[in-house]
């Protein structure tokens, strides 16, 4: 399974980005091979529809579970339509590595 969260930087020590669609990076953890990977969110500066576009990018990475402190209405509808598990989660102190390990 792959689990993801938006992160402020592209490394394991980064804090989470509270936004989903306009978050800076995606931090992805693969529970099978125990590997972390980071991807730039190419949708973050979209004029409109950043949420669904970010959902599209992250699902294409094979992610089945997403954490965010806030999913926008359009992103939420898109993710629901694709059967992706969403978890509301907020923590400004922990690193994305800690968060993803705890929630996988």
């Amino acid at each position: 399974m792959k689990i993801a969260i938006t992160s402020l930087e592209n490394n394991k020590a980064s804090k989470m980005d509270p936004r989903f669609g306009r978050g800076a990076f995606f931090a992805v953890y693969d529970t099978e091979n125990k590997e972390f990977s980071f991807y730039e969110n190419e949708a973050k500066d979209a004029q409109g529809g950043a949420g669904p576009k970010a959902a599209e990018l992250v699902v294409n990475l094979g992610v089945n579970k997403l954490l965010s402190s806030d999913f926008g209405p359009k992103a939420k509808a898109a993710l629901e339509g694709m059967g992706i598990e969403m978890l509301l989660y907020s923590n400004e102190v922990k690193t994305v590595e800690e968060i993803l390990l705890e929630n996988s």
Partner: protein, 294 residues
């Protein structure tokens, strides 16, 4: 006269509707011809609250949006790549495709690029409506109104303006701001009156609007509402930029009261009526001058 005169402002709440209404009622007294008031502030049209006309025609504003048959779709992704508005959600890895109706602007690019038969068909989506109200003396209010929840104003404004009478003098109330809805409203007008107020916010947004007008090569002048409030920086700016000051409306409690009661200032205060007569003289001078060159 068949001129189109727009009333615009960068900042909201400076008095566009006040100026539109009072100019309309001033001209109704002065001119023996058809005049239309046009409300292009489609997200919040409010002229009708003052004119209290009788509604005589309603027409819908629709765009064509795609409906994708996911059984026939081959998941090539061409439609999603062609969409400039991220309105097609396409996830190749799980063969998922969906139209995000709220984001679609109805451009038709997806239908154009799809090379599979019968995968994309188009359906109407209502964005708003154009209402025409009868006023006194055969004059009319043409009002654009967007659907609740819709964020796409431009087609509604476009159809509102197309629904106006080409033989009438048209006074057009623009939406606030300097973005697409404003540009759609003023792109084909003969003259634009910019309404502002002598405050730092008023000046900042006026500058943005002046930049917009100059890029669009439109003729314009400025009305200062609530004169006496704030500071004098706006007057220095107008002088430096050689922009014509068309009129000042004083910051006056009595005028605010008249407006709040839904009454028309030029009907209640003769001095204000005189100001609007002079305002139109100045605007007309600009228009006739422009016409004599062409």
């Amino acid at each position: 006269m068949t001129y189109k005169i727009a009333i615009a402002s960068g900042k909201g709440g400076t008095g566009k509707t006040t100026v539109s209404l009072n100019l309309f009622y001033t001209l109704q007294k002065q001119l023996d011809q058809k005049i239309q008031l046009v409300d292009c502030d489609v997200e919040e049209p409010n002229i009708n609250l003052f004119t209290k006309g009788e509604l005589h025609s309603v027409s819908d504003v629709n765009i064509k949006i795609p409906v994708i048959d996911s059984d026939k779709c081959v998941y090539c992704g061409d439609c999603a790549s062609a969409c400039a508005y991220n309105a097609i959600l396409f996830v190749k890895s799980i063969s998922h495709i969906a139209v995000l109706e709220d984001l679609c602007h109805g451009c038709g690019a997806c239908t154009y690029v799809c090379n599979q038969p019968d995968v994309i068909v188009e359906k109407d989506k209502k964005l708003g409506e154009v209402n025409v109200y009868s006023l006194e003396n055969g004059n009319e209010l043409v009002e654009g109104k967007i659907e609740i929840g819709s964020a796409i104003a431009v087609p509604v404004i476009g159809k509102t303006l197309k629904s106006t009478d080409e033989n009438a003098l048209r006074i057009i109330d623009a939406p606030p701001g300097t973005s697409c809805p404003v540009m759609e409203t003023i792109k084909d007008v003969d003259y634009t009156i910019l309404v502002t107020e002598p405050t730092p916010f008023g000046l900042n947004d006026l500058k943005l609007m002046v930049e917009t007008m100059r890029k669009m090569k439109g003729k314009f002048g400025v009305v200062i509402n609530r004169a006496g409030l704030g500071n004098l920086a706006i007057y220095d700016y107008l002088k430096e930029e050689k922009i014509e000051l068309l009129m000042e409306i004083p910051f006056d409690k009595n005028l605010a009261r008249i407006y709040s009661e839904g009454k028309i200032m030029v009907d209640e205060v003769p001095a204000i009526y005189e100001k609007y007569v002079k305002l139109f003289d100045k605007v007309k001078l600009n228009l006739d001058e422009a016409n004599s060159y062409s």
